[in-house]
């Protein structure tokens, strides 16, 4: 079996072979490291590649396997970790110059759980500076490139994860999502991205984060792999008060169940109001496929979404507070986009912050009402496909929108509401633009109903012509 045969497999395909000792964790890790070394000059998807650590882990896992200690489907699987998730003894920069030499003493809880499940940490992945933006064009560590077109962004802020999973460097990556930072890169790179229910996964060890609505979630090449990753990281953490002590179901159990009789809500307002026609065509096609699979589509109205822009206000103020200790001493080490967008939080009045929290409440209530009428919602992931690196504004519907720095909220308009509501949401690949860039659609479910999202996404994926699509970067020398 060649390295390419190995890296082309999904976790679900590879795990039984590792368990049966047909392929060793060492072999898999060497294949992934070779792919990382080959593509890093093109993608710039890592800040740190952990050659020695990954090899050491792989040898230990190999030895455990020989002793009959199989840890489960992540045993010996190389994954990437976004560089804003703490890793013990390994520098964790958060994509910043400020924390360029920061070495945490403990792993983030989600990282720790992945390791306990047998995953091999291949490296720390590049991201937007301080995970604050949708481009992953990092002023300190360089821009991450999209495997489908190297001149384009991979989305952000978990751009390194999206690029690595898509280009078969990692089998999965742990990203973080405060406004769409897992789902956006998933959509732009043609992979599966999950932001589970707020409270399902511990945020402990997620650095320089917001007080309100951040999540750690997986990027994977398949829905089944997404379920396996969530299985590893889900669960109550007594040291993280945001986690909820609810039972963790078997997330793989719903895969393969029929979709007949399910009801999907197609929002009549907001989500489809501002979007590129090619993206809309792709998403509408995915909706048609779900209908062919027996899902009943219903148009639904979410009136409070006309105030969704106000959700950003709380985020502006939260962000300033999160950055305060660093800005006070290291302003000169910030890139301009993050510096100025963060400082804008100083203008937010307490009265307006309180209003934003109340808007969050009514939007949450509106979604809860709609999700009593239907089982899940379908929306675009992003209003447009990935744009060229270094683009400052994009035109949509005849209006110019900033896509970097202060005021750049348009591109996350479909994903950020689920950070405010806390509802589980998942991005699935559903086609390509004429220029070959991936399009994603988003499924939004009821609280803690990730199994239903997996059921629907798996049903779609099973008939999707895009499920085994390979990015052109794989064929470059």
């Amino acid at each position: 079996m060649t390295y390419s045969d190995i890296t082309n497999m999904t976790i679900s395909e590879l795990a039984p072979k590792i368990e049966a000792r047909e392929i060793s964790p060492v072999e898999v890790t060497e294949a992934a490291l070779a792919q990382a070394d080959r593509l890093q000059p093109k993608l710039n998807s890592f800040i740190t590649i952990l050659h020695q650590d990954a090899r050491r882990q792989a040898k230990e896992l190999e030895a455990a396997l020989m002793r009959g200690e199989y840890k489960g489907p992540l045993h010996g699987i190389p994954i990437g970790i976004k560089d804003n998730l703490a890793t013990a003894g390994i520098r964790t920069t958060v994509g910043s110059k400020v924390l360029a030499d920061h070495v945490p003493e403990e792993d983030a809880q989600a990282v720790s759980r992945c390791k306990e499940a047998g995953a091999v940490v291949l490296g720390k992945e590049n991201l937007e500076e301080f995970a604050a933006g949708p481009t992953s064009n990092n002023p300190h560590y360089g821009a991450v490139h999209n495997p489908w077109n190297l001149d384009h962004i991979p989305g952000g802020s978990s751009g390194g994860g999206g690029a690595n999973v898509s280009s078969r460097v990692t089998f999965a990556s742990l990203g973080t999502d405060l406004g769409g930072s897992v789902r956006g890169p998933a959509g732009f790179c043609g992979v599966v991205g999950l932001k589970q229910t707020f409270g399902r996964v511990s945020q402990r060890g997620l650095m320089v984060t917001s007080f309100n609505g951040d999540h750690i979630g997986p990027l994977t090449r398949s829905v089944a792999d997404s379920a396996l990753m969530l299985q590893a990281i889900a669960g109550y953490d007594p040291l993280d008060p945001s986690t909820v002590p609810v039972p963790v179901p078997d997330f793989s159990e719903s895969l393969g169940k029929g979709l007949q009789g399910l009801k999907m809500g197609i929002p009549a307002n907001y989500y489809f109001e501002l979007m590129d026609p090619e993206v809309e065509a792709g998403v509408r096609q995915a909706i048609a496929v779900l209908e062919e699979l027996g899902v009943e589509g219903r148009e639904v109205s979410i009136p409070s979404m006309k105030y969704a822009g106000a959700l950003r206000i709380a985020g502006m103020a939260d962000s300033l507070v999160a950055h305060e200790p660093y800005l006070e001493t290291n302003r000169q080490d910030y890139g301009p986009n993050v510096l100025y967008r963060t400082l804008a939080g100083q203008f937010v009045l307490g009265r307006d912050y309180a209003k934003a929290l109340k808007v969050q409440r009514i939007i949450k209530d509106d979604h809860a009402r709609v999700l009593q009428e239907v089982d899940f919602l379908v929306t675009p992931t992003a209003p447009l496909a990935a744009w060229p690196i270094d683009t400052e504004t994009v035109s949509l519907g005849g209006v110019e929108y900033p896509v970097r720095g202060p005021g750049a909220g348009m591109t996350s308009r479909c994903t950020s509401p689920s950070n405010a509501t806390g509802l589980p949401a998942m991005s699935m690949p559903c086609g390509f633009t004429k220029s070959g860039l991936p399009i994603g659609f988003q499924l939004i479910g009821r609280p803690f109903e990730e199994p239903l999202l997996f059921q629907v996404a798996f049903g779609y994926e099973s008939v999707s012509p895009y499920r085994d699509s390979r990015p052109p970067v794989l064929d470059l020398d």
Partner: protein, 65 residues
């Protein structure tokens, strides 16, 4: 923008004495404009009776150990 640059500079200065030039304020402006537009959009909305979504789980209370 109805707020003068001097006022904005004074507001920023409240944050650890940070100074912003006119050019830097122009860069921040899109975020401020967006914020003010959203607040204007909320003007028609009565938020006075929106219930809090805070919950306290039973096991978080109890007697001190």
């Amino acid at each position: 923008m109805a707020i003068t640059k001097d006022t904005l500079k004074a507001m920023i200065r409240e944050f650890h004495g940070m100074e912003l030039s006119d050019e830097e304020l122009d860069i921040v402006a899109p975020a401020l404009d967006s914020y003010l537009a959203e607040i204007e959009n909320l003007r028609e909305l009565d938020l006075s009776n929106v219930m809090s979504g805070r919950i306290l789980r039973a096991q978080e209370g109890g007697k001190p150990g």
